[in-house]
């Protein structure tokens, strides 16, 4: 491996800035869409494709070493309880009496800025997940 290229940090920052701008643009578009429509499918597909491409590009990179194990079981227990309660609400009816996560999400994202922020957060999460 040779010496670092001059301006490498700058180009990384520029790439990061461009990615953030692109994500903001996609999120603004997503905020205007409604589920079960072609524009919603398209903007979601674009997000999936971009993160999918980054995942394929980074595939061969070895994962970074992890620090030693901490107590992880509280997260697993919490996740299990959330999933169990979500499934309980899903199969109990009606939805107005037993809201699910989707019910809260639908109520919150009636405001377009909130929907855009959620879409941006989803893209950010995807970018974080493909960084090994």
């Amino acid at each position: 491996m040779g010496p670092p290229r001059p301006g490498g940090a700058l180009s990384a920052r520029l790439r990061g800035g461009a990615a953030a701008l692109g994500a903001a643009g996609l999120s603004a578009w997503a905020a205007l869409t409604r589920p079960f429509t072609a524009p919603a499918d398209l903007v979601t597909a674009l997000g999936l494709a971009l993160v999918g491409a980054a995942a394929v590009r980074g595939w061969r990179r070895a994962p970074a070493a992890l620090p030693s194990a901490r107590r992880w079981w509280p997260w697993v227990a919490f996740g299990a309880v959330v999933v169990a309660w979500e499934l309980t609400c899903l199969f109990l009816g009606p939805r107005v009496d037993h809201p699910t996560v989707s019910s809260f999400y639908d109520a919150a994202t009636r405001a377009q800025p909130v929907k855009g922020a959620c879409f941006f957060g989803w893209l950010w999460l995807g970018a974080a997940l493909v960084r090994r």
Binding site: P35, W75, F78, F104, W122
Partner: protein, 66 residues
């Protein structure tokens, strides 16, 4: 007490527990692992990496397309 009140109270309690876990994972003595550590641990294998990404993809499809 209506069923809706009970449901809302349970969801609120779960949200508080989740927030508590996040706070606990950032304390100096780290009584709980960070969620990011757990996800990275899951992604340590190729199968886990793909599974986590598929989960992320499903989230996007479910909340934004459908």
């Amino acid at each position: 007490m209506t069923a809706r009140l009970v449901s809302d109270a349970l969801w609120a309690a779960l949200a508080l527990v989740g927030a508590g876990l996040v706070v606990a994972s950032h304390l100096p003595n780290r009584p709980v692992a960070k969620a990011s550590w757990l996800i990275r641990r899951l992604q340590a294998t190729s199968v886990g990496y793909v599974a986590v990404l598929l989960g992320w993809m499903w989230l996007g499809w479910h909340f934004f397309a459908r």
